[in-house]
Structure formats: structure tokens, C-alpha cells
């Protein structure tokens, strides 16, 4: 098709794309003659046709014959107007062309049955091949090999060096080229890559810079866009921090192409030690599914967990079947305040369930009589001495808050607002438990607490407390989360929940809020009330347990059965496991490869959890060898209380990041961990990233070529304006297309005349 186009119009399509059409004979005289000729021919035609064609179809035939002649005449006139393409063309050998060749590991992928990506590139770049030869004729070429960084190399060196880069950083490679070519006439940059950029941070800004400098990026895409026969573990989602012995659920995102219906095992390991595994069925022939893998870690410390999915023999890329993530298991002992409005068995047995929990601290405030409180688990005699906290600082020192059966009027409005802010602003965990003074019975309608709750309350005056036996039924959400897990494995968990005796009371809470998640219902009927539910509220987590009779589980089951204890520990650990402190640390990436810089971001709050923008935090990064480097953190003008800094990571292993600052005269610090480890980044999402490559070209005025068509590139990219270019006028009047069309029109006109008997 391209050849036909070039034959008919003399030039390649790119000439028409880059150039502009002009007519060389555009004076008035020419147009006057042309107009006179058209008029004369029209008059002549109508005169002759009017005499010779008496039939009823005469007007149609006459018009057709006239149109054919007029068309032919128009084309001749067009040729006489001397059409031409004016295109800017660079001067041969006066411009530089930087050719960047991807040498990251992903280029090893053999997604073509016959050859790998790198083999395709080597074939294109043969020194005596058309591409290199023609590029050399038009440009002064400079070759770069790049992966995480770029390096100038001769072509033979590039062809001989291994493709072993651990990451792809287009931004770094382009920056290197711009830097080296700053004083040269750079006509363009050619990137030969699969486009799997996984390390750039500000690529778009750099692309805009190139666009402004009118340096086009031409891209040559290598590899298939979609791999066949590949199972890929896209992501493993787990909390960053856990307390020991708590059950958590990892959510694994699997992309499966070509193995639908196959059974495979997923597992998690800490080093070599297997923590948990389970068999799953791959659901789709081509799609992403989420798999839950409940697991528990008993010992404290920083765990470098490896999640993996079994690779069938036909799996094209076993390298992308695993991922690593850092988990910090520590006894950080979050503190929970439990406020109870009356002495009751639920209070006793909840306290008992947490009594010897090493990882949760619970302080309780029990109203035993009017204006009489009984405090337990308190740190000092002063703790809660005046009842429920009336100051933000006092309440916000806790990580969790439980309201038992206590009516809303027990609190002042200010305290109710504080509780709402405790969840939304401070990021605390909140639970409302059932009872005769909870939920609607406690008149929480239209209070700040109702905002937090994951359910809607019935109208005031509509009692929602029901005293009736009811079985807790887990929802599908609960089965995919670890919040209500009584055992690690799915089978054991289901068995233990079946043994749980019925509750004897519940609240009629049927309507769950849109963003909330019901974890258990009171019974399994279609209109069953919500028993356990949760939702994010601001920075925190809100939960409900709409019953006050879980103590019956403890009293009705064998003394050795730990279901009641596990239920509460698991629920409350989950509630507070991720409650942020006054400093929250985050990173720009889930994991790093050596040679990169980790961007560490810290959000800093004061004791009232207002964002603290008048402080100067320091970042201390301890590398795997134990050496600590300190970096000042810069305040982000865009976001209050946010500071960031970069720390280079040069060694493989787990790094500890500690942020320290002084707020209100008090030194506060927080630590977190990130890792640089054996990486399979290059094999994740390993198809050709055509969109990215096309976008780079489109934004800078360059062109995208699949590698099979990259041979045209040297001849096509010369049509551009630049520091060393000239305008070319390419005549089109003698293009074969005109002769072909004129002959066709005249031949048609003649043959029709013959057929109708007028010739």
C-alpha cells in the first residue's frame, strides 16, 4: 500500500505529513484563462448535446458526460497550477541522531516464538544493515545503551553487551542525551525499547522540555503488547505493620492469560520458611482476579515476605510470578479506651478476652452508678479521673475507642465532635458495641457519631434493640478479609464459625452506608440486620458490633475454646493495627532497585493532630550494613505538614527510615522500612508499552514504529525543521496520479459515448 502511494504520488507519505501543499503558478492570468476555458467548454457541450440527444434520459447522460470532461479538464488545470510539497529537510550528515537501545532485563523476553526482543533489536542494528547504513548516510549517529542509566557506546559494544539492567529509566537516559548533546545539532532521539519504564519520576516534564526545544523522540517498539500463556502476580497488598500472632489477609492480584480453570498454589514465605499456602483456581482465560491468602506471623521483626504463585510449565514468564513486600511485626501496643455505660457481662468478658494480650492495651471507664466510674487498666491514678476526656490531646493519645452501651447524652456535644475527629482527623479506630443504650436506643441520630458509623440508624423513637436468638452469618466480604477470622485456613475458619452459639440480642440495622462493608449479618435471611460492619472515615476506621451478647460464646463453649477471645483480639487488632502516629512515613515506590533514590515523605502532626508546618524534621536512613545517613527534609509548600527527602539506595536489603522532629518542645520520631532486593520489576507488566512509546513520539513531534517497520525510520525522520535544515520544493504536477486520473476520465467519457451511439 505504501509502495502504491509512493508510486502514484512520487513521495513517501511522511513527506505529505511533514510538508505543506503549494501551487507554483498562482497568478491572475492563469486563473482567467482557466475560467474562460471551463465556460467555453460548458457552453459547447450544452449546445451539441441539446441537438443530438432527444430522449427523456438526455439530461442525465448529458450531465454525466459533462462531468467526466470537466473532471479531466480540472485535473489538467491543476497540473498547470504546478502543485508541489514544500517540506523542511535536514542537511545530510550535519545533524546528530541519538539512538538509545534498551538493555534492561525485559529485553530478554522471548514473546516472539523465534527470537527474543534483544535478538530483534540486534537484527535491526546490524552494522551493515539498511537501518544503520541509511541512518549513517543522513545523520551523525550516537548510540547509547540504557537501562537504569544510559551510557554512550559504540554499536558493536552495544550489540555485544548483555541485557541485564534491573530497571528501565527513560528519564535518566533522555537526560543523559540532552546533557551530552547540549551544544550539538541534535535532530532527534530514537528510542528502541519495549517501553517498560519502571523508574522514571518526572518523565513528562522532560518530554515537555524536549518538545519546547523541538527535539523529536522517535520510538521503535519491541515485543508483543499482550503476552500469551503468562500468569503474573501483579501486587500483594498487606498492612505495612502488624502485631505478632494476629491473622492478616494478603490480597494478591493475579493476571492470568491462557490458564483459565487451572489449579495453582499461592504461598507466602519469610526467607525460606513457608508461612502459608493454598490452592486456588484461575478464573479467567484472560483477566485479573484477587485471591485472599490469610497468614499470621508470630515473631517480631522486619519481615521481607515473598508472595508467589505456582508457574505451570507453559508459563512464558515465571519471573513475574512473585513479589516481595516488607512487613514490620512489632509490639507497638496500641492503647484502646473502652467506655461502658453500665456494668454488664459483655464488659467483663471483653476485658477478659484482652487481659493477657501482649499487644493491645485497654483502659476502661465503666459507669457503675450515677456520676460514679470504675477505671481499669489505667496508667496512673490521674488517667480518666475526670471521666471521659474533655481535651483533644487526652483523647487523641489513644489509638482505639470502644463505646459500649452508653447513651449519646452521656457526652457533651464537644466530646461527640472530638470522637468524630478522633476517627476522621487523628485516624483512630472506633467501635460501637450493641446494647440497650447503643445505636438508635442511645439516640445517636443526628449526632457527629452517626457520621462515623458504617450504618444508618432508624429514626428517633424507633427502637432498634431486639432480644432474640440469632446466628452470626459471615458475608462474602468477611471471607475475603481476615477481620473475623477465627482460624488461618478457610476450612477451619468455616468450621469454627459453625460452632459459635447464637447471640441473644442484636440491633435492627438494615441499611449500610454506600462506602461501608458488611462483614456479618444477624441471620441469613434477605433482610437480615447488619451485625458487623466497617468503613473508612477520614484517616481512621469505624466498626460496629451490633450485639451485646458475645459473652455467651465464652460461657457456652468449652473453656479451652478460644473463639470468643480470638474474635475480639482479631477485631480490635485490625481496628488499630494501622493507626497513624504523629508522623506518617510513606514512599514513592513499593520497592527499589540499587542505584535509585528513595523519596521519603513524612506527614507531621502536633498533639492535636493539626498539620505541623513549622518544624524541621530530619530523615535518618540506616542501610542494610547498619550505616546511618541523615538528610534534612524539605517542607512541601503545596501540602501543609508534609516534608520529603531523597535517600540514595546502593545496597540490596532492608533499609530503616526514621523521621525525627520536635513538636511543642517534645521530640517525636517514627520509623518505617523499605527494601531494595532481587527485583523482577522488569518482568512485571511485561508486554510492550505501546501507549507510552506513542505518547512520547506524539508529544514531541516524532514518530512511532513497530520494530518490523523500523527500516523506514532513517529515510522518514529527515523531514523536519532544525538548526541545520533547508526547504525542499517537491513538484507534484508530474505525479503519475494525475495522468492516471485524466486518462481514466477521458476513457470513461469516450466509452460511454460509444455505448450510447454518439461517437
Amino acid at each position: 500500500m505504501k509502495q502504491v502511494f509512493e508510486f502514484l504520488l512520487k513521495f513517501k507519505p511522511v513527506v505529505f505529513e511533514q510538508g505543506r501543499l503549494e501551487f507554483q503558478n498562482t497568478n491572475f492570468f492563469f486563473f482567467a484563462i482557466a475560467l474562460a476555458a471551463v465556460t467555453f467548454l460548458a457552453l459547447l457541450h450544452f449546445h451539441i448535446a441539446g441537438r443530438k440527444l432527444p430522449s427523456s434520459r438526455v439530461p442525465d447522460r448529458r450531465r454525466l458526460l459533462f462531468a467526466l470532461r470537466l473532471g479531466a479538464l480540472f485535473l489538467i488545470l491543476l497540473m498547470l497550477a504546478a502543485p508541489s510539497i514544500v517540506v523542511s529537510e535536514i542537511n545530510p550528515r550535519e545533524n546528530r541522531l541519538a539512538i538509545l537501545v534498551d538493555h534492561s532485563r525485559s529485553m530478554q523476553i522471548q514473546d516472539d516464538p523465534n527470537k527474543s526482543r534483544v535478538a530483534q533489536v540486534r537484527r535491526l542494528l546490524q552494522p551493515q544493515g539498511a537501518f544503520v547504513r541509511r541512518a549513517g548516510e543522513k545523520f551523525q549517529t550516537s548510540f547509547y545503551r540504557f537501562a537504569d542509566q544510559a551510557a554512550t557506546q559504540d554499536l558493536p559494544e552495544i550489540l555485544g553487551s548483555p541485557t541485564d539492567g534491573k530497571s528501565t529509566n527513560l528519564e535518566s537516559a533522555l537526560e543523559r542525551v540532552i546533557q551530552e548533546m547540549a551544544h550539538l545539532t541534535l535532530a532527534g532521539i530514537v528510542i528502541i525499547s519495549d517501553g517498560a519504564d519502571n523508574a522514571s519520576r518526572h518523565l513528562n516534564a522532560l518530554v515537555q522540555k524536549l518538545r519546547a526545544q523541538k527535539i523529536p523522540i522517535h520510538t521503535v517498539g519491541v515485543g508483543k503488547e499482550r503476552l500469551d500463556n503468562d500468569i503474573e502476580l501483579l501486587h500483594a497488598s498487606i498492612p505495612r505493620r502488624l502485631v505478632p500472632e494476629s491473622v492478616s489477609t494478603a490480597l494478591l492480584s493475579l493476571h492470568n492469560r491462557g490458564f483459565g480453570g487451572r489449579k495453582v498454589r499461592v504461598e507466602v514465605r519469610d526467607g525460606e520458611a513457608l508461612i502459608q499456602s493454598r490452592e486456588i483456581t484461575l478464573q479467567f482465560e484472560n483477566g485479573v482476579q484477587t485471591v485472599e491468602l490469610p497468614f499470621s506471623v508470630s515473631s517480631t521483626g522486619v519481615k521481607n515476605l515473598k508472595f508467589s504463585v505456582e508457574a505451570p510449565p507453559q508459563d512464558l514468564l515465571p519471573q513475574n510470578n512473585w513479589t516481595r513486600t516488607v512487613l514490620e511485626v512489632r509490639d507497638f501496643q496500641p492503647k484502646i479506651l473502652y467506655v461502658e455505660g453500665e456494668p454488664r457481662w459483655e464488659y467483663k468478658f471483653l476485658r477478659r478476652a484482652l487481659a493477657d494480650d501482649r499487644f493491645l492495651l485497654m483502659e476502661t471507664l465503666l459507669r457503675t452508678a450515677n456520676k460514679k466510674f470504675y477505671r481499669q487498666g489505667i496508667e496512673s491514678e490521674d488517667t480518666l479521673a475526670a471521666g471521659f476526656p474533655s481535651q483533644v490531646e487526652e483523647l487523641f493519645q489513644y489509638q482505639g475507642l470502644i463505646l459500649g452501651t452508653v447513651e449519646s447524652s452521656f457526652f457533651t456535644y464537644h466530646q461527640l465532635e472530638m470522637i468524630r475527629d478522633f476517627v476522621g482527623k487523628r485516624g483512630g479506630g472506633f467501635l460501637m458495641a450493641g446494647g440497650k443504650r447503643s445505636f438508635g436506643e442511645g439516640k445517636y441520630q443526628n449526632t457527629p457519631i452517626e457520621e462515623i458509623l458504617p450504618i444508618r440508624l432508624l429514626a428517633i423513637g424507633t427502637g432498634d434493640y431486639r432480644e432474640s436468638p440469632v446466628r452470626p452469618e459471615l458475608t462474602l466480604h468477611a471471607r475475603s478479609q481476615s477481620i473475623l477470622n477465627l482460624a488461618i485456613t478457610e476450612t477451619d475458619n468455616a468450621r469454627r464459625w459453625k460452632l459459635i452459639p447464637p447471640l441473644e440480642d442484636f440491633h435492627a440495622l438494615a441499611e449500610i452506608k454506600p462506602a461501608a462493608m458488611a462483614l456479618a449479618n444477624a441471620g441469613n435471611s434477605a433482610d437480615a440486620s447488619v451485625l458487623v460492619a466497617t468503613q473508612r472515615y477520614g484517616r481512621g476506621q469505624a466498626l460496629i458490633f451490633a450485639s451485646g451478647s458475645s459473652w455467651l460464646w465464652r460461657m457456652s463453649m468449652d473453656a479451652r475454646d478460644t473463639s470468643h477471645q480470638t474474635f475480639w483480639r482479631q477485631l480490635l487488632r485490625w481496628m488499630v493495627h494501622d493507626v497513624p502516629g504523629p508522623i506518617s512515613i510513606s514512599y514513592d515506590k513499593a520497592q527499589y532497585v540499587t542505584g535509585e533514590s528513595a523519596v521519603v515523605r513524612a506527614e507531621v502532626f502536633n498533639r492535636s493532630y493539626e498539620k505541623a508546618s513549622q518544624t524541621s524534621p530530619l530523615l535518618k536512613v540506616t542501610d542494610p550494613q547498619g550505616q546511618t545517613h541523615t538528610y534534612p527534609m524539605e517542607w512541601s509548600a503545596r501540602e501543609g505538614g508534609v516534608y520529603s527527602s531523597q535517600a540514595p539506595v546502593d545496597a540490596e536489603g532492608v533499609y530503616r527510615a526514621e523521621v525525627e522532629t520536635t513538636i511543642d518542645g517534645q521530640v517525636i520520631r517514627e520509623q518505617s522500612h523499605f527494601q531494595t532486593a532481587e527485583s523482577n520489576l522488569e518482568f512485571q507488566d511485561a508486554g510492550q508499552h505501546t501507549e507510552l512509546l506513542k505518547s512520547l513520539s506524539d508529544q514531541t513531534g516524532g514518530r512511532y514504529y513497530p520494530i518490523e517497520k523500523a527500516g523506514d525510520l532513517p529515510d522518514e525522520i529527515i523531514y523536519q525543521s532544525g538548526k541545520s535544515s533547508h526547504l525542499q520544493v517537491k513538484d507534484l504536477w508530474d505525479a503519475p496520479i494525475f495522468y492516471f486520473l485524466i486518462l481514466t476520465l477521458l476513457a470513461a467519457e469516450w466509452s460511454l459515448r460509444r455505448r450510447w451511439g454518439y461517437a
Binding site: 455505660g341 453500665e342 456494668p343 454488664r344 457481662w345 464488659y347 467483663k348 468478658f349 476485658r351 477478659r352 493477657d356 465503666l366 459507669r367 457503675t368 452508678a369 450515677n370 460514679k372 470504675y374 481499669q376 446494647g435 440497650k436 432480644e467 441473644e504 440480642d505 451485646g548 451478647s549 459473652w551 455467651l552 465464652r554 460461657m555 457456652s556 463453649m557 468449652d558 473453656a559
Partner: protein
């Protein structure tokens, strides 16, 4: 003759009716508590409320002739009802005066009542089933108040029965600073005068589990429930009745908080 015979028959019938009536009265008097107990064994459980559960147990043979009631029923139900009313009055505890309940150790109903009262344990004679149930009850978190017994003989019987429950668990005397005496009312002294047999020295003992959690409190040489029972009759000094209620309230609050 006929009329005489008829008269004789009528007389004998009348005598028989009298006899039946007398027997009925005796039976009613003797077994009334049992009948009443059976009626009260019917479940009155409400999950949101506090209940006074009184343990019904098997007794030794020679305890049958103790007045007109079995030993476990002493002071029942007035003591139970009065304590419940006082609890509702002075605390925020959810309780009605009718929330008293008889429970046996032969079925699982007792597990709905984590606070239980047992008296006259000097006459207790637990079966294996009863001992096993009591052990399970305590292991799961139940709390037992033992009251109304005295003297070495009754103590010995009680400890013998408890060895059936826990062969290796003993009792320790509780001191005033124990939280059970301070958790609601700050009780000033443990010299609680018994309502009778005041020549005996009262003492409070406790049995705890392997984690040190108090499971049972024993009012030895005393009868606190007697004060509760008669507190509305003026038979007991008000001040002592008040003190007795303080113990009772504290026992309940302690069980609900520990």
C-alpha cells in the same frame, strides 16, 4: 343398719378425706420449696439483665431434715430479690427484682448466669456431673459466692466437695485491700458480724484460677444472705443490713468487672 352402715361409711370417708387433707398439707409444707424451686428453675433469662442465680445441689443424707427447706434454698427467694432491688437502686446495673433464678449443675442453663450464689455448702454432696459442671462454669469465667455455713465440719465438707471440682486448688483468706472489697463500696472492715452464731469468727476466703483471677468468694462462719432476706422486716440492725448489702453489691460489681 343400712343407714348405720351408710353413716359409718360416711364417717370413714370423712376421716379419709381429713387424712388426705392432712397428708397433703404435710407434703405441701415439706416439699413446697422443691415445688417452688421447680417452678423457678424455668428459665427467666434476659440477656441484657443481671440475674441472681442460686445453685441447686445434691445434699448429704442427714441434711434432709433441716427445718422445712433443703439447704440450698435458705433465704430463697427474699434474699435474692432484695439484693437485686438494691443493685437496681444503687448502681447502673440493669436488673429487676424478679431476675432471680434457680440453676442446677446438671444442665447447661447455669452457663447463662456468670454470677451464682450457693449456700449451706456444709451439706453439699456433689455428684460427678455436678462437679464437672461447676468446674466448667468456673473455668469459662463464672463467679460463685458461697455463703451461710460455719464450723470446721461444714468447712471440711465444703473443701471436700471442692476437691471434686479442683483436686489441686485451695483457698486463701482475703484481706481488706482486695479489689472485691473496694470496687464499688469502700468496705472499711471485714469484721462483719454474723446474724447468729456470733461466737464464731467470720472470715472471707477466695479461690483463684491459675492466672490468679478470683473465681469464688466464701463467706465462712457467716450468713450475709440472711441480712438480705430480712432487711425489710426490721429483725436485723439497719447498719448491719447495710453492710451486708455492701458486700453483696461489691461481689456483683467485682464479678462484672474482673
Amino acid at each position: 343398719m343400712k343407714s348405720n352402715h351408710h353413716s359409718a361409711l360416711c364417717a370413714s370417708h370423712a376421716a379419709f378425706r381429713k387424712l388426705c387433707l392432712a397428708v397433703s398439707v404435710v407434703l405441701l409444707v415439706v416439699f413446697f420449696p422443691h415445688q417452688r424451686g421447680k417452678a423457678d428453675l424455668q428459665n427467666k433469662f434476659h440477656v441484657g439483665e443481671f440475674h441472681f442465680a442460686r445453685i441447686v445441689f445434691h445434699t448429704l443424707d442427714d441434711s434432709r431434715n433441716f427445718q422445712d427447706m433443703p439447704p440450698w434454698a435458705h433465704d430463697y427467694p427474699r434474699a435474692d430479690r432484695h439484693l437485686l432491688k438494691i443493685l437496681a437502686e444503687v448502681t447502673h446495673l440493669r436488673s429487676s427484682g424478679e431476675g432471680y433464678q434457680l440453676v442446677t449443675l446438671e444442665d447447661d442453663q447455669i452457663f447463662k448466669y456468670p454470677w451464682a450464689y450457693v449456700c449451706e455448702v456444709g451439706y453439699m454432696n456433689l455428684t460427678d456431673k455436678e462437679a464437672a459442671t461447676l468446674r466448667a462454669y468456673l473455668d469459662r469465667g463464672g463467679f460463685v459466692v458461697v455463703d451461710d455455713f460455719r464450723g470446721a465440719q461444714e468447712w471440711n465438707n465444703f473443701t471436700t466437695q471442692m476437691r471434686k471440682v479442683y483436686p489441686d486448688r485451695g483457698f486463701e483468706q482475703l484481706q481488706l485491700n482486695h479489689p472485691i472489697f473496694q470496687c464499688f463500696y469502700n468496705i472499711k472492715t471485714l469484721e462483719m458480724v454474723p446474724p447468729y452464731a456470733q461466737y464464731l469468727e467470720p472470715a472471707f476466703y477466695g479461690m483463684s484460677d491459675e492466672k490468679g483471677r478470683l473465681q469464688m468468694i466464701v463467706n465462712f462462719n457467716n450468713d450475709i444472705g440472711e441480712y438480705w432476706e430480712w432487711s425489710d422486716e426490721g429483725w436485723m440492725p439497719i447498719s448491719l443490713s447495710n453492710e451486708a448489702y455492701k458486700y453483696g453489691v461489691n461481689y456483683v460489681i467485682y464479678a462484672l468487672t474482673h
